[in-house]
Symmetry: C2
Subunit: 195 residues, 2 copies
C-alpha cells in the first residue's frame, strides 16, 4: 500500500488497514495495530480514540473541505455554482496520493455493515451542515436543502467512480463531469419550435 | 394519534410509538408494547421480529413503491421521467392518512442516533436497488447512478417537508415541485444573446 503521508499516525493507519483487510475489522484490536506499527498501545490511543477512528479521522477535514469550497465562492454565486465550489473544495482532499489509501479503506468498509452505517451517517451530518452554510449565505429553502443534497449526492457518485480501479481521472474532473451530466439529466428538454 | 389502519398489527404499532415517544426507544420492551396493545408477547413476535421492526416494517413496501413507479413509466422514458415516476410511486405510500403516524415515527427516530443510522442505511439500500433497476431498463452509467441518487435525495427533501407541521400539500405535489426546482437549480443558465 502506498504511503501518502509520513509519521507515526500514518504508520498506525497503514498497519490498521493492512490488519483490517487481512483479518477483518472486528477481529483486529488496537493492541495488534500498535504492535504492527512498532509503537506502544498508549501511543495508539494518543492518536486515535478507538480503532474505528483510524478509518474516520478525516471527517472534520472533509467537512472543512466542503465548507471551504463554498466560502471561496463569490458572494453572488448561484446554488449550482456553490455546489460546484463545494465539490472543488472536496477535490483538494481526495488527491491522487490519497487514492490507494482510500481504495483500501473502502474495501474494509464494504465488508462491514456497521462501518457502512457510520460512513452514511458521516455524509448525512456533512449534508446538514452544508445546508446550514448555504442558508447562512442567503440561499432560501428548499434551494439550500436541494443544493446541499445535490453536492453530497454528486460527491458520493464521484467518490465511487474515483475509487474504481479502471478510473484514472482526478477527483475534480469526475465531479464536474457528473455535475454537468446531472444538469442535462434533470432538465426536461424544452419542446422544439422547429423540426 | 390517528389510526391509519385497523387490526392487531396496527394496534401494536400505535402502542409502540406511544411508548417510544414517552419513555424513549431504548427504555421500551416488546413485552411492554404487547401489554399496552392488550395482546401477548407471543402475538407481538408473530408480527415483528423485534421492537425496531415496528418502525421499519414499511421498508419492503417503500422499495416496491419506488420500483413500481419506475415500472409504470413508458419504455422510452428519459432519466428525469423515471425519477418523477419513482417519486410518484412513493407518493402512494405516503398518503395523508399515514401522515400523523409518520410524524410521530420521525420524532422517535430523531431522538435516537442508532435509528437514524438504520434509516440512512435503508435509503442507501433503496438507492442501490433503484440504480440497478434503471440499469436494467437500459439507462447507462453514470446516468443510472445519478438518477437513482436524485430520486432518493429529492425523496428525502420531500419527506422532510411533508412531515413539517406547517406543510399541508400532499406528498406528490411537494415531490414534483422540488424536482422542478432542482431542474432549475442545477442548470447553469445559457448566456443571454440579447440584453
Amino acid at each position: 500500500m502506498a504511503r501518502w503521508r509520513p509519521g507515526t499516525r500514518e504508520r498506525l493507519q497503514e498497519a490498521a488497514l493492512e490488519l483490517f483487510a487481512t483479518r477483518g475489522f472486528e477481529q483486529t484490536t488496537a493492541t495488534e495495530i500498535a504492535e504492527a506499527a512498532g509503537v506502544t498501545e498508549r501511543t495508539f490511543y494518543r492518536h486515535f480514540s478507538d480503532k474505528r477512528e483510524v478509518l474516520f479521522d478525516g471527517q472534520e477535514v472533509l467537512l472543512e473541505a466542503f465548507l471551504g469550497g463554498v466560502r471561496r465562492c463569490p458572494a453572488d454565486a448561484s446554488p449550482v455554482d456553490l455546489v460546484a465550489g463545494a465539490l472543488q473544495g472536496v477535490a483538494s482532499f481526495f488527491s491522487d496520493e490519497r487514492r490507494p489509501w482510500s481504495r483500501a479503506r473502502q474495501a474494509v468498509i464494504d465488508a462491514n455493515p456497521a462501518l457502512q452505517e457510520r460512513e452514511l451517517s458521516k455524509l448525512a451530518t456533512i449534508g446538514g451542515l452544508l445546508t446550514a452554510a448555504l442558508r447562512d449565505r442567503g440561499i432560501p429553502d428548499p434551494a439550500a436543502t436541494l443544493a446541499a443534497g445535490t453536492a453530497v449526492m454528486v460527491f458520493g457518485a464521484t467518490f465511487g467512480r474515483w475509487l474504481d480501479p479502471a478510473e484514472s481521472r482526478p477527483f475534480d474532473q469526475i465531479a464536474h463531469a457528473l455535475l454537468d451530466e446531472l444538469g442535462a439529466l434533470v432538465t426536461r428538454p424544452a419542446p422544439l419550435t422547429r423540426p
